[in-house]
Subunit: 101 residues, 4 copies
């Protein structure tokens, strides 16, 4: 299992609000069955790398279907294969423990 | 107020765990007084752009102080000046409302 | 045609040199037939979005085949559908013209 | 010396062309005296980390001065302190040598 963070930025939309575009990509994620979490700077998704790349492509295309003519998509993938870190939230636990006091 | 997400990736560390390095950068953020939140793919910080760039530089340098010889830092800044979106979590509300049912 | 930039950062390699890993991913690109260019901060590739996501997945996997246990991959895609900007280098021309003197 | 790549994406501009905005940021770089290179997916700049963070802040602000109300800035910094890699183009040489035949 890997973690992907994706941010899809439509260009030339005439307005500064992006929540409608973000909502459209979340619908794709809901259908995909992958675990995901929206946060202030993007959406984090967990799954097998091939599934993550596939759903990223679908989310990117879904934004064009809303009439946007140019899109800037930023993706970060953190893929660790020596250890199973399968659920959202588990990765942060260890760092947060270290700064507790 | 703008939002910054920062991920600092040390290279050539000999181990795959990064939580010790992340903890070190969170100490910088605690001292800075800026609002921040660690999530699975990075740390999100809010503040004035000049403060965000300054603290990013400090976090980047703090990781070198742990004996790392090469660092790859990824930063995304979302800066909106037509509307006050000042707190972590407020940005996601509108998109999540749209996919409720 | 869209532009993708991809940077694949292996974690825990014990050494700070990445050129061997980069070379492995360039072999994938050569086989793909897609136009690409290596620069100091990543590799830029042009092609249909579906092809770009597919080759990104292959490059990401190829790096694991070299014995790396954790990989951090950063991808940016600039996809413009109102105008054909199909070749590497064309996009920069207009901005550079504007600062000529 | 470190390498920074910066991409500044204005949101809600009403048009899909970004070259005018890019040109404005290149003027900042020219004044800074730092070595830089525009490529299809961003601008790469070399310099001391503190200088890179400072000029990134200036380029980000310069784009707002053109009437944009929301900006999405993506920065990647590759900072290697065990070896002097000071000029644009030097980093790619070794990887390209490895795939020559």
């Amino acid at each position: 299992m890997a973690f992907m963070e994706i941010s899809i930025v439509p260009i030339g939309t005439g307005g500064t609000s992006l929540s409608g575009y973000v909502a459209e990509t979340l619908k794709i994620l809901k259908i995909s069955g992958l675990e995901f979490e929206l946060h202030d700077m993007g959406t984090t998704v967990t799954g097998e790398p091939a599934d993550l790349f596939r759903v990223a492509n679908e989310m990117h295309n879904a934004t064009f279907s809303m009439g946007v003519m140019r899109i800037y998509t930023v993706i970060k993938i953190d893929d660790r294969r020596d250890k199973t870190v399968s659920s959202l939230g588990h990765k942060t636990h260890s760092a947060l423990e270290k700064i507790k006091n």
